[in-house]
Structures are given as C-alpha cells and as structure tokens.
Symmetry: C2
Subunit: 230 residues, 2 copies
C-alpha cells in the first residue's frame, strides 16, 4: 500500500535510489499535475490537451509537456491522435469489459495466493476505512476506500509489476467514474461484499475468497456497463 516511493533499481542502485533526494524531473511533475487534474475530473474524457496551452499554463517548455504526454499515453490516461493532438482517454463499453478482464486476472490471482499478515491487515484496514466513510456519509471517501481495498488485494502478491498495473487500471477507471459517482449510493452496496471477502481472506479460505471476489467483479462490471449506457 505505502510503496509510495519509486521502484528500486539494480543491486546496490536500489539503496542509492532509496537514498536519493526525490527530485522528480520537470516532465514528471507536469505529468503528475495532469494526472491530478484527470483524477479530479477537471479534465473530462474526450477533452483536448493543447501542447502550447499547457506549456504556457505550467510555465514549461513544449518539449517537456510532450514528454509528460508520453508518460500519460503509456498509462492510457490519454490518447495520441497523430498530428491532431492528445485527448483525455474516454472508455466505451468494450474498454470497460477489457478493464474488468484485467482486474479479474490480477485481483483473483493475488487473493488466491494469500499474503503476509501485514498485507492481510492492510486489506482489513481498507474495509474499515470504507465503513467509516459510510458512517460519515463521505461519498468521496467511500470511493477511495474501495480503491484502497482492491489495491490492497493486489498488493497481497507483493509484486511491483502487478501493483503498477493495478494502479494504472484504477486510474483508468477513475476517468469515467465521474459520471457514475453522482449516484451517491454507488459504492455503499459493496461494503458487505468487501467485508465478506476480507473475512474469508483472514480465515485462510483463499479459494472461497477468490470466488467471492470474482462474483463481485462480475456484478460490478455489469453495473458499470449499465450506468455507462448499453
């Protein structure tokens, strides 16, 4: 869950990288800023991102913005149309199914592998975080708690690569959630599922946890496609 800092490098480069004062490249900071605006729904799907405009707004060079775009494009948050510009990615029905296919693969695999007690505890923490948000009627908190829950499940596997894949998938989903989030009770119904899945995980009933999670994801996909229209 934490693993906030960047991935490690080579043998002793790892230590060096961990020690290094984090001075993200300008391009990285631009990408981070855009990622933020995307997550907050400030930039809606389909919107166009003009290089020069962003360069001026953020006070950086066009080339730097370009590098940032490359990052975001690699994460599928943005789509490049050659000679036309980059646009905020907009997912359609097929993409939703695709995203859920990825989630089914990595989440179910991760939970069926179990995980260290600390990692299971992280899952539990996310469940409680969701309950607290529900009690406080904090819709935004409910949403992020749910993402923490699924992120923690993937983190069970302890794989750097699976973690980044999952975080990218979640970032993609945030992109078109802004439509669905208006439905205030959207996540609330998932709380019991999370609780049950977590219990099964804690009890070591990994196969059952996997089944539950799979069913959950299937239902979630169904609902998403319904909300998204067709």
């Amino acid at each position: 869950m934490t693993t906030s800092d960047a991935a490690a490098g080579s043998t002793l480069g790892a230590a060096a990288a961990r020690l290094r004062v984090a001075v993200p490249s300008v391009a990285d900071r631009v990408a981070a800023e855009l990622r933020l605006q995307l997550a907050e729904g400030l930039l809606l799907p389909g919107a166009r991102l003009t290089e020069s405009t962003i360069a001026d707004d953020l006070g950086v060079s066009r080339n730097t913005v370009r590098e940032a775009f490359a990052e975001l494009a690699a994460e599928r948050l943005v789509v490049r149309h050659p000679n036309r510009g980059v646009f905020v990615a907009s997912l359609e029905a097929g993409d939703i199914h695709d995203v859920y296919t990825v989630r089914r693969a990595i989440e179910v695999s991760a939970i069926r592998g179990g995980g260290s007690p600390e990692r299971v505890a992280a899952v539990r923490a996310a469940v409680e975080e969701g309950k607290a948000a529900a009690a406080a009627n904090d819709e935004e908190g409910l949403g992020s708690a749910n993402q923490h829950f699924h992120g923690a499940i993937v983190a069970l596997a302890g794989s750097r690569r699976l973690d980044t894949i999952m975080s990218q998938v979640l970032a993609e989903m945030r992109l078109f959630f802004h439509k669905a989030t208006v439905d205030a009770h959207f996540y609330r119904g998932y709380l019991p599922d999370n609780e049950e899945i977590c219990k099964a995980l804690e009890a070591g009933e990994l196969d059952r946890a996997g089944e539950l999670l799979l069913a959950y994801l299937n239902r979630s996909e169904e609902r998403q496609t319904a909300v998204h229209g067709e």
Copy 2:
C-alpha cells in the same frame, strides 16, 4: 462478447484509425529499432545508451531519441538513471519472480476462461510450430514458438490490455534469455507440457489446463532463477 477484432476506438475514430495509413512517428521508429536490437541481444543488459550517440547513428535529433527512450522506459526495457543516462534493463532474482507472478496471474486467468474455437486453434498452432522447430533443430524457432504459445493463451481472453501486458512481459524476458539460450535444450523439455496443456484446453477441461499451466510456470521460474544464478 464476440468483438472479434480489437475493441473499437471512438465512435467513428475506429474506422479512421483502421483506415489510416500506418506512418509511425520518427520516435516510434527509433523505439522500434532499439527494441529490435534489444531482442536480438545486440544491446546487453546493463549497457548504456547515450543520447547523442544514438541520435547520430540513426540520424535523428536528440529530442526524438529522448521520446523513444520514454517509450522504452514505460515498457521497462530500459531504465532511466536521472542525470546519468538510460541503461538496458537488467533483471535480477527478484524481478524474475515478479515477472512470473504476472504471468501466473494473466495466463492462468486467460486459460481458465476458455476462448473461441479460433483462439484455441491459435494455441494449437503454436504447439505444432514448436514441434516443427524441434524436428528441425531450430533452437531460435523453438524459443519464439514457445512465446507464441503463451501469447496465444493470453489472447484467449480477447483483452487488448492483457495482450499488451503479456507482450511487454515477454519482451522483458527476452532481455535476459540470451544467457539461458546457450543451453540448447532449454525449451525442448517444455514441448510435452505445451502439448498436454493444449489438449486439456481443447477438451474443455479448463480447470485442469489451468493447473497444468500453473505447475509449468512454477517449474519454469525455478529453472530460470537457477540458470540466472541464485
């Protein structure tokens, strides 16, 4: 569900994209060239890639090379050391386990979901390709046939995202296979496994196919870590 061909793009952008004459950007072509040299073992792990050198060699601008580097870095084929340059990625023991964790997740998930007859046929074709290569004593062909086999398995799911993830993982593995490939009989032992897995798949025994594939991957990881030296 069929959506036989890749998921569509934007409403009519799909047609445009399909129609568009493929004119990869210069940066893309540079990236492709480097990818090729990486796959052929011309650029060994740990090797340094100097911007200006490559820019001169390929007759492009340094900025363009930089964009190509961004692409490759996103694919983990190359690692950026800030202010020091980019180096060909070199996987260590932990990375091998990590890569196999990803493979277990997506390959097993894909095979357990079955797939259309054509996609199953593609898996069968890869198996036969491997047999033919073995008969011809074509070690190189054996290796690529094996990759086709696993690629075809993931393709069963019909997910664009899973496909790209898998192709990236395979590209990563090619990076450090050059050490192992010297062992001429490396892949040969896997042929019977592939055959059996394929048979189970064709017979619709998806759970069993998943089990076999999982065992296969575990053995393969074991062997890889052994070859790679602890």
